[in-house]
């Protein structure tokens, strides 16, 4: 968790998406897999190239942070295989990115803990001194709290959107108001 909190600037920088941004995330993923002793094909890296457009920016920013976490000495000793590393990035990053902005994954203590536990769980490990049940309970509790917050926010956003659509459909809204020119 401390490692995430101490992520260097390059891993917090803007991922390259659609011609903008600084960091080529696919290249970082490739370096990570090789550093952990694995091999990676160009096709394995395609989903980290930012080709899906600007909406993918947050997921790629989370991938960068996961890369930093997985480059820790402990993982270098454990040496997870390339398929496992890619699976963590493929499955873990979208799950985390769906609820929070990448900077919060790094700055919020609960999100740091959730991230570290999720990565360990996806690789089949758990924190030292915890039973599998304890580790699972703690991860579930962290992600449930976050999920509840995300769901509440989503519900409130949907209510607001519905209210806007209703307001725009009122007769008074349809009648509009004076403009000196019309387009």
């Amino acid at each position: 968790m401390r490692r995430l909190a101490e992520a260097p600037e390059d891993f917090l920088a803007e991922p390259r998406v659609g011609g903008t941004g600084r960091i080529e995330v696919a290249a970082v993923v490739g370096d990570l897999v090789r550093m952990l002793g694995g091999d990676v094909l160009a096709t394995d890296l395609r989903e980290f190239t930012g080709g899906a457009g600007a909406g993918d920016r947050n997921r790629l920013a989370v991938v960068l942070l996961l890369c930093w976490l997985l480059a820790d000495d402990w993982f270098q000793r454990v040496r997870p295989g390339a398929p496992d590393v890619l699976r963590v990035l493929r499955e873990g990053a979208p799950e985390l990115a769906a609820g929070v902005a990448a900077p919060k994954v790094q700055s919020d203590p609960d999100r740091r803990e959730e991230t570290a536990r999720l990565v360990l769980a996806l690789l089949g490990y758990r924190p030292a001194g915890e039973t599998p049940a304890q580790a699972q309970d703690r991860l579930t509790s962290l992600s449930s709290a976050e999920r509840a917050r995300v769901l509440k926010a989503a519900r409130s956003a949907e209510e607001r959107a519905r209210a806007i659509r209703q307001a725009l459909a009122r007769k008074a809204a349809e009648e509009s108001a004076d403009k000196w020119t019309r387009e």
Binding site: E14, K171, A173, E174, A177, R182
Partner: protein, 455 residues
């Protein structure tokens, strides 16, 4: 009634909350004049006394504020505006944190606004008095946009700024008609109102199409009786207005919605003896810029609107290079724009620190193939035809290279127009010309069925 509209009674007190006896008299005059058209709809200014003060304060600010930024830089207000968007606007919140540089933010287009405009309304704004503006969408993306009566009334600040460039200050007031908005369509939203910030001067939105009048000659009788200080409309409706035997003269024409050719502008200026002010304006952002031949382009009007020119990949282009006009900011708080790609193309040049859009063309560029096989940009067609006073036209290049031109309102010029196109495309170019009575709104001006026509 529109099926999307919920049944609801709207009273005149809602349409004109500050109406006085003088205002009521003006409405009566506009509606009940013996030569008045058939008014088909109702609307109003909807401004409360507090709103009127807000509009007037905004107008003072908009008229006094400098517009622009240092070439290569960005305006001071931009970072705060972006932070507000990322915090309060559902669509932009998905972007996550503020990137290192403004130009790393994603761009949006009509395709993003079209599916659900609610995603662009900030969480912090009240909804009880929202209004909407609809656009038909010549590009396949009709829009329903959220706005507010104060925003709609604030257009006038930018009209005044535009008129000032031509030495004009509006002078009308109580008991006079400020503006008549003229349209020429088979179906058109028409109504009357008063403008509280101009001491309840009259406003009429009318359709010049004969179907809206008891007698076609009522048009000139009614308009002479109104004697408005300004006419607002599009080139097509102005071309019709110019045919009416009016005795009165406006002080200005405000032209929006479609490109105004220099030929038609000259003809209208001669006909009405007043400046014809060509505005680059859109529902999404209001009046963006005004054409000024003295600086060779459209001068920006809004003090809180940042304009970038982007290439097709979304990269910002340096001053002088032609690309897509992209907007950030604006004065409609119910629709904050963050790197909105307009679909219009121009180059940005600086006249001192004042940004000017040069060679503004609506919609994406289309290339046409000449007889010799060379590609030419649609702007060259615009240049070839600009001496003709064509209210509205389209040019389509067929798969076999032949040109099909549709013209509205200039049947007497059709042969010369055909010759001008043959001169541009080369001897042997096949050109068919079709006269069209009306296009009924905006059209996509240039199209091609040739492969590689859209660079």
């Amino acid at each position: 009634m529109d099926s999307r509209v919920t049944p609801e009674v709207v009273a005149d007190e809602d349409r004109y909350p500050t109406l006085t006896a003088a205002g009521r008299q003006m409405l009566h005059f506009l509606r009940e004049h013996p030569h008045a058209p058939i008014y088909r709809n109702q609307s109003g200014n909807r401004l409360t006394a507090e709103d009127v003060e807000r509009v007037l304060a905004f107008e003072r600010e908009a008229l006094a504020a400098p517009v622009g930024w240092h070439p290569g830089g960005q305006p001071d207000w931009l970072d705060g505006f972006v932070a507000g968007c990322l915090a309060d606007v559902p669509f932009y919140r998905r972007y996550g944190a503020m990137p290192e540089k403004f130009e790393q933010l994603p761009t949006i287009s009509r395709a993003d606004l079209s599916p659900d405009i609610a995603q662009f309304v900030p969480d912090t704004l009240p909804l009880d008095r929202v209004i909407n503006f609809r656009t038909s969408g010549t590009t396949g993306h009709p829009l329903l946009l959220a706005s507010h009566p104060v925003v709609a009334a604030s257009y006038l600040a930018f009209h005044k700024r535009a008129l000032r460039r031509f030495g004009l200050e509006l002078m009308h007031g109580r008991g006079q008609v400020g503006v008549v908005l003229v349209g020429y369509q088979r179906a058109c939203f028409t109504y009357v109102s008063v403008t509280p910030t101009m001491d309840e001067s009259g406003l009429a939105k009318i359709n010049l199409h004969p179907a809206d009048w008891r007698d076609p000659s009522d048009r000139e009788r009614y308009l002479d009786a109104l004697d408005p200080e300004v006419y607002a409309g599009d080139p097509l409706s102005f071309a019709v207005l110019a045919t009416l035997p009016l005795r009165t003269r406006p002080r200005a024409l405000l032209s929006t919605s479609m490109a105004l050719s220099p030929g038609l502008r000259e003809r209208l200026q001669e006909r009405f003896g007043c400046p014809v002010v060509d505005l680059y304006s859109m529902n999404e952002a209001g009046p963006v810029a005004v054409a000024d031949a003295a600086v060779g382009g459209h001068v920006l009007l809004q003090h809180r609107l940042f304009v970038e020119i982007l290439d097709s990949a979304g990269h910002r282009l340096p001053a002088g290079e032609r690309g897509e006009v992209t907007l950030t900011g604006g004065f409609n708080s119910w629709l904050p724009l963050l790197r909105y790609r307009t679909g219009d193309h121009a180059a940005l040049r600086f006249d001192g620190s004042v940004p000017v859009l040069v060679g503004l063309e609506g919609r994406p560029p289309v290339r046409f193939r000449t007889v010799a096989g060379e590609w030419i940009n649609n702007i060259e067609v615009t240049h070839a035809l600009q001496r003709f006073a064509i209210p509205q036209f389209t040019v389509c290049q067929q798969a076999d290279g032949a040109l099909h031109v549709r013209l509205c309102g200039v049947s007497h010029e059709r042969e010369r127009i055909r010759e001008a196109l043959v001169d541009l495309f080369g001897a042997g170019q096949r050109v068919s010309v079709e006269d069209v009575e009306a296009f009924d709104g905006k059209v996509v001006q240039y199209t091609s069925r040739l492969a590689d026509a859209c660079p």
